[in-house]
């Protein structure tokens, strides 16, 4: 019995260590093992890709049928795992691409309405996996990139040679003969600070200044900075996953807004009267963010106000600082200062979400939640039970749940129970603007 107990203790100890392991194998911050993506003798597409197109080659590893929940580096849910009423299963900060396959039909104030899947995010073309070009937008909103060109490789550089040096600066080697540059020793997404003479990759091997998102396009102006926890794909039912986004426009960095604007130029502040990005929040907005916890609750402080549904860009690209804030255990819930900024990702998820325009919350109704007859915050859904305080059935409040099941409503908010919000929670624009 003692032997069995000891063996069990060893097993448990080993599991504890594993649980702390960061996730950065295979890509290792740069170009990965060639044969993971290319097939020399039986390729499916040009250039010697193992699958029918670039995005299908990515999903060959990043989608896995049979997942029961958020799983490691998976960023897409297979259709067999999300039949009607069942939500996509991944909870990465970027979101699960499976949402773009989820189209809903419902009655909105008596009118048959469709919530098309393609409105939920970036419609990558991955034919092997059933992802097709956006049927509504022939080009990128605010830009000229053709929708049929959109692939994972539009944003992520699979052969990424852009690197972060030991002093924190970013370089994108031209790879010209006769040049020398520091080798990449590992992933750049989890806070690695390399020693002198070596480099880390860049966040999520995003395209850098030598990378073009599409044929005929311009190169990215640099790379944005961020650090995410090693275990980033997880439910936020209890603790939030905080990806610490940074900001710098020097040293090879660019802002998140300018980076996204490479394809969505007209969406950017520089091109018109749109929501500002790339500027400090200022004392008023930062103060609002820090005070606002939910509708009717302005008791937040600078120490506890962070909400991963409304992340912000810290006014630094210092990796150690960002790494200290990138936690998944609610140990770092500090809010912004006046110098921190709003960015595209403050409202949108990079891949996809449950909501139109890949928003982090339902932007098409004044309420995100309702209440039951006891006044407790609840998500309405087509399978919800009970009534609102004013006697309406929860299952008839289509304008809030847009045809979703209870499970899908939970998934849409990364498994947060409705009680994390106020009853009759208003739009999260109020996190910065407090109009409710």
């Amino acid at each position: 019995m003692k032997t069995i107990r000891f063996a069990l203790m060893l097993t448990v100890a080993a599991l504890a260590v594993i649980g702390l392991s960061p996730a950065y194998a295979f890509h290792s911050g740069g170009v990965a093992e060639c044969t993971g993506c290319h097939s020399m003798h039986a390729p499916a597409s040009h250039p010697l890709l193992a699958k029918g197109d670039p995005s299908s080659t990515c999903l060959n590893c990043h989608e896995h049928a049979g997942d029961t929940g958020p799983s490691s580096y998976h960023i897409s849910t297979a259709p067999v795992d999300m039949p009607n009423g069942i939500a996509p299963k991944q909870r990465t900060p970027g979101g699960d691409f499976g949402w773009v396959k989820k189209t809903y039909g419902y009655l909105l104030r008596g009118t048959a309405t469709t919530d098309p899947g393609q409105s939920h995010g970036h419609n990558i073309v991955a034919v092997d996996f059933g992802y097709v070009a956006d049927p509504d937008n022939t080009t990128a909103p605010g830009g000229t990139m053709t929708s049929t060109d959109l692939a994972c490789t539009s944003c992520h550089d699979p052969h990424s040679s852009t690197r972060r040096l030991s002093d924190g600066t970013i370089v994108s080697p031209t790879k010209a003969q006769g040049t020398q540059y520091a080798p990449i020793m590992g992933a750049g997404s989890y806070g690695l600070v390399p020693p002198a003479g070596l480099a880390a990759g860049v966040y999520r091997i995003l395209g850098g200044s030598t990378y073009t998102p599409f044929t005929g396009g311009t190169n990215f102006p640099g790379v944005p900075s961020a650090v995410t926890p090693a275990t980033y794909n997880k439910s936020e039912a209890v603790n939030q996953v905080r990806t610490a986004y940074g900001y710098s426009a020097t040293g090879g960095y660019t802002s998140w807004g300018q980076w996204c604007a490479t394809c969505h130029g007209d969406m950017h502040t520089n091109s018109g009267y749109v929501h500002p990005v790339e500027q400090g929040l200022g004392a008023t907005i930062a103060g609002n963010y820090n005070a606002y916890l939910k509708t009717g609750d302005l008791t937040g402080t600078t120490a506890n106000s962070f909400n991963s549904l409304v992340p912000f860009a810290e006014n630094t690209s210092d990796i150690a600082t960002l790494a200290g804030h990138a936690q998944n255990n609610d140990s770092q819930l500090g809010g912004p200062t006046a110098n921190d900024g709003v960015m595209c990702l403050s409202c949108h998820r990079a891949h996809a979400s449950a909501w139109t325009f890949s928003l982090r919350w339902n932007g098409e109704n004044e309420f995100l939640t309702l209440a039951n007859t006891a006044g407790v915050s609840v998500y309405p859904s087509y399978d919800a039970v009970g009534n609102t305080p004013d006697g309406k059935t929860l299952l008839s409040q289509n304008q809030v749940f847009k045809g979703y099941s209870q499970a899908e409503m939970l998934a849409a908010y990364y498994d947060r129970p409705a009680t994390k919000f106020a009853p009759y929670q208003r739009q999260l624009c109020n996190k910065c603007h407090i109009q409710d």
């Binding site: 599991l15 044969t35 060959n60 049979g66 580096y73 297979a78 999300m82 034919v127 092997d128």
Partner: protein, 322 residues
């Protein structure tokens, strides 16, 4: 030379010749794809379980389970209540004909979320729940997504944690096995590693693949581990390793999701031959996913892109795969 296992070809079939390797005596023959009275069922990336006792194969697709007979025709269908019980992650058939379905049950107001093992009789009538009991406190949050029934034991695996729990047939915890012990502590591939596939043979050896390692492993019942395979795109090498199966003799089949191949190794883990990347249109595989070994040497291979489930006959002079 007499082949103990050589199934008659049904419908179109093609003999796939071996490579030049003199050990490549195994014959692989395409038989058909699983079908119903409307034609080939256009499955894409589904879960499989072959019931060798009754020569049937079960296919789990979201919230529907279908049963196909020995000739690959659908004979029965029933629904798994995914809204209440979660989507089908894996399934096994017991000797009695009863079926266990593994899924993940979402949290409800009166019950937390977690692994759900639903017991059905052969008609698909829900018989209740099999509870995985006695888990040590440290792994109470264990959420398996694979389930194997072998040697009277149930093996549950979490592919994302590379962890296996062995339980009795009534769900009582017996032991936990950390498969990452097979990878050196300082190997960078441990980080973020997950299982591409897992199987258990009659002797209790566990076979598994780790895609980011480009290798497959065999963990013997004494705890010793052997690895085999290496990265590459030539026959016998691994691109992205996925499902793995072991037959009663110890021969091993590994699905390669990048190379669209199924590789066959002998009991000494020597490469014998492969099939899938090339050949007649119907023989070519498209990202082989789940695999199952059925009665009479039938190999079922799930594929991507609505290619359905292809069925092959595998035979060797000494019935290597059976």
């Amino acid at each position: 030379m007499r082949f103990r296992v050589l199934l008659p070809a049904l419908g179109f079939s093609a003999l796939i010749t071996g490579f030049a390797d003199p050990r490549a005596q195994i014959q692989v023959e395409y038989l058909y794809r699983l079908s119903n009275f409307s034609g080939i069922v256009p499955y894409s990336d589904v879960q499989l379980h072959a019931d060798r006792f009754h020569d049937e194969v079960y296919v789990g697709e979201g919230d529907v389970l279908r049963v196909f007979n020995a000739t690959g025709m659908e004979i029965y269908e029933f629904t798994h209540d995914a809204m209440r019980l979660g989507t089908v992650a894996d399934l096994v058939a017991l000797e009695s004909g009863d079926i266990l379905v593994l899924s993940y049950r979402l949290a409800s107001p009166d019950r937390p979320g977690g692994a759900q093992i639903t017991h059905y009789n052969y008609r698909g009538d829900e018989q209740g729940e099999l509870v995985l009991s006695g888990l040590p406190p440290e792994i109470q949050d264990f959420v398996p997504n694979r389930m194997i029934f072998r040697g009277g034991k149930l093996y549950f695996a979490s592919t994302s944690r590379c962890l296996v729990v062995v339980a009795s047939v009534d769900g009582a915890f017996e032991r936990a096995i950390d498969l990452l012990d097979a990878v050196p502590k300082d190997d960078k591939a441990r980080d973020g590693a997950e299982l591409g596939g897992i199987d258990v043979d009659g002797a209790g050896s566990i076979y598994f693949t780790i895609p980011t390692e480009f290798r497959s492993f065999r963990r013997l019942s004494d705890g010793s581990v052997q690895s085999f395979g290496k990265p590459g795109s030539a026959p016998g090498t691994f691109g992205i390793v996925g499902s793995i199966l072991a037959d009663d003799k110890g021969d091993v089949l590994v699905a390669d999701r990048a190379r669209n191949a199924v590789l066959i190794f002998d009991a000494n883990l020597r490469f014998l031959r492969e099939f899938g990347p090339t050949g007649h249109k119907q023989e070519v595989l498209n990202r082989p996913g789940a695999m199952a070994l059925g009665a009479g040497g039938k190999l079922y291979v799930s594929q991507l892109g609505f290619r359905g489930v292809s069925v092959f006959s595998i035979a060797s002079p000494d019935a290597a795969v059976h």
